[in-house]
């Protein structure tokens, strides 16, 4: 939960000035986009898949209560325990109490943005339970004491040198800049944790209403280890993760892997239906599923933004966003950055505190264009701007300027006078052949000079008839 206003503009400016950060961001987003593009262009039915996915998500969200109940029924039949949490704190309390009851002192976690949203780790620490992030990116972030800057590549803002130094300092290994060596070092440290931990916590990519199954999509294998070795598995999912049928997975699996990393299929797609069954040799003895609302149901009442609940967290809108590419994830102030964050942070955490976010976009529409479930992200930002204006969250100066602007544009004569006024100002203040210096514009670019005559004048003088 954020309590202070998010200062996007301020952080963005700082991040823009950090050359190494921009370099890291650029390298990562360019690379991922290139892979995505190759993977997508090899699928002729891509647009049909997007449309199908949008349709399935619409169906899921339209019938959210029904599908969740169906999921609950099937999951309980398969041996799961279900906990419904209206708020993050209810979910955190439940998870902590399960860990305590199992006497857990060490918990292994697979990457889950939902647990970031709940601020689960600090709560576990406070309860004397040590949570270990096992996704390599999250592990790096946890060692550095930071928060993720991307929803699928949490440490994308860091260079190999920074990571090498971090590992040398925190893990006591020799400094190395070799990603393979660093990865092996993390493997060795984390393998020990996997074998010791009594509770594993994971997120959920899809929850199948028809069968009560949970689907987890990971590349590193940490998701499999977290859901296999510990005696207790706690899966935490936002209520929007539901899909009606097992069969729907064929659509989403194709879209998710290609959109997020450019893979045809993610290395491991794990489909879990209940805890270990009597004749099986391993797997957790108990499986708890936490269904988290935390503001999501509120989005159902917002006709223009409810489709943000269709998001499958692939991260493509972040990678493609020219703003994200330059300012990075931390500027967005909460767990979800980029265009999807600019939509859901105001919706889940309040427009009041996140008022700058809907404006953090040039409205270029690239985000909506790549979204595998066709969320109309940039148009949602426009609706949020409208809400900001209606809630009087914009400055008095801006409201006045808009009023003056409209008043001018409503009267052709006033409009033309202001054109003349501009020309007069230019004659007085600008050097010959140059435009005026405009605050905020002219720091990095030149402002165009006004020509002697407007089109309107030329037309009236008969030059273009």
């Amino acid at each position: 939960m954020i309590t202070e206003p998010i200062h996007f503009k301020e952080t963005a400016r700082k991040n823009l000035a950090a050359a190494d950060l921009r370099e890291n961001l650029r390298r990562a987003t360019d690379h991922t986009l290139r892979l995505r593009q190759q993977a997508v262009s090899a699928v002729p039915e891509w647009e049909d898949l997007r449309a199908a996915a949008h349709g399935i998500k619409k169906e899921s969200i339209d019938h959210l209560a029904g599908y969740l109940e169906s999921f609950e029924l099937r999951a309980i039949e398969a041996g799961c325990k279900i906990f419904w949490a209206e708020t993050a704190s209810q979910a955190v309390e439940y998870v902590v109490s399960v860990c305590r009851q199992r006497g857990a002192s060490l918990v292994v976690k697979a990457k889950s943005m939902t647990t970031e949203e709940m601020e689960l780790n600090p709560a576990l620490e406070a309860a004397g339970i040590h949570p270990v992030e096992t996704d390599l990116g999250e592990f790096i972030i946890q060692l550095a004491g930071e928060t993720p800057s991307h929803i699928t590549a949490p440490a994308l803002h860091k260079s190999r040198t920074q990571i090498g130094r971090l590992f040398a300092e925190k893990l006591g290994i020799d400094f190395s800049e070799d990603p393979k060596e660093l990865t092996r070092a993390a493997r060795a440290v984390l393998r020990e944790k996997f074998l010791k931990a009594t509770v594993g916590i994971s997120g959920v990519n899809f929850a199948v209403a028809e069968t009560g199954s949970l689907v987890l999509v990971t590349n590193e294998g940490n998701g499999r280890l977290c859901t296999t070795l510990p005696k207790t598995h706690i899966a935490i999912m936002g209520i929007e993760k539901i899909i009606p049928r097992f069969d729907d997975l064929r659509v989403f699996l194709k879209l998710l892997a290609r959109s997020s990393t450019g893979q045809k299929l993610t290395s491991y797609v794990t489909m879990i239906t209940g805890p270990r069954k009597p004749r099986e040799m391993d797997g957790p003895e108990e499986l708890h599923v936490v269904l988290l609302d935390n503001g999501r149901s509120e989005l159902l009442t917002h006709p223009h933004t409810r489709e943000a609940l269709y998001c499958i967290r692939c991260g493509a809108c972040l990678n493609v966003c020219p703003v994200y590419q330059r300012v990075g994830g931390h500027a967005y102030g909460w767990v979800y950055p980029g265009p999807i964050g600019a939509v859901i942070t105001p919706e889940l955490q309040g427009l009041q505190r996140a008022r700058e976010l809907p404006y953090a976009s040039s409205l270029c529409g690239s985000c909506s264009n790549v979204c595998p479930v066709k969320i109309d992200l940039h148009h949602m930002l426009l609706w949020l701007r409208k809400s900001a204006v209606e809630a009087r969250l914009t400055s008095g100066a801006e409201r006045w300027i808009m009023k003056m602007f409209v008043a001018t544009m409503k009267h052709p004569r006033l409009y033309r006078w202001s054109g003349l006024l501009g020309r007069l100002a230019q004659m007085i203040f600008a050097s010959k052949g140059k435009g005026l210096r405009i605050p905020h514009w002219s720091e990095g670019r030149d402002f165009p000079p006004l020509p002697n005559k407007s089109f309107h004048q030329l037309w009236n003088e008969g030059e273009v008839r």
Partner: protein, 239 residues
Amino acid sequence: MKIHLFIPCLVDQFYPGVAVSMCRVLKKLGVDYVYLTDQTCCGQPAFNSGYHREASELAERFLEIFKSAETIVAPSGSCVSMVKVFYPQLELSPPARQTLDRLGPRLFEFSDFLVRKLNVVDVGAQFKGKITYHDSCHLLRELGIQEQPRQLIRNVRGIEFVELDDMQTCCGFGGTFAVKFPDISTAMGSDKAAAIERTGADVVVANDSSCLMQIAGVLSRRRSRVVPMHLAELLAQGI
């Protein structure tokens, strides 16, 4: 054929040459045009900033002015998408909505009008030089216009056409975005300018004066030799 010119305020005040060029091309193709002198702004700056009520007032006004038009043509993808895509989201009076329903399909962006409505891909223009093209966001993603400008450019005699790296990436203008976040906007513009310079082109063409204002502003600050040009200006060369 007779059309109504929709000349966005930015073009009227800063880039009248774009509108004049468009008229010249239309005349060459035998299209009659009229200009309704009461037109001002379509309301996009207000709409994009979230001021729907203010934008509605300008939309009502725009629709009233153009209500009897048969065909409208504008040299701007952005302002055309304001009317076609975003006016429907505004609260409008019933008569204005009726006008909008009628006018929406009759409003064309310039390159789209030439290629799809007139079936013209060669206007007979001549220009010597290397040309690259920037896809304006609204033109490309709100209106889906991608090939039309390229077809027209390729048929200009004497040019060499070269595609730009990341041609579909935003130039960083984004209306009020350019002044609300000048540093991000300029960073985006600088990358765009660098990509343009990398092509070795003499001229960068785009279809929206707002993008060109951003691109020209950055190129000029970099003392670049690349000339920014609206498609209409290129097509008017040599005719």
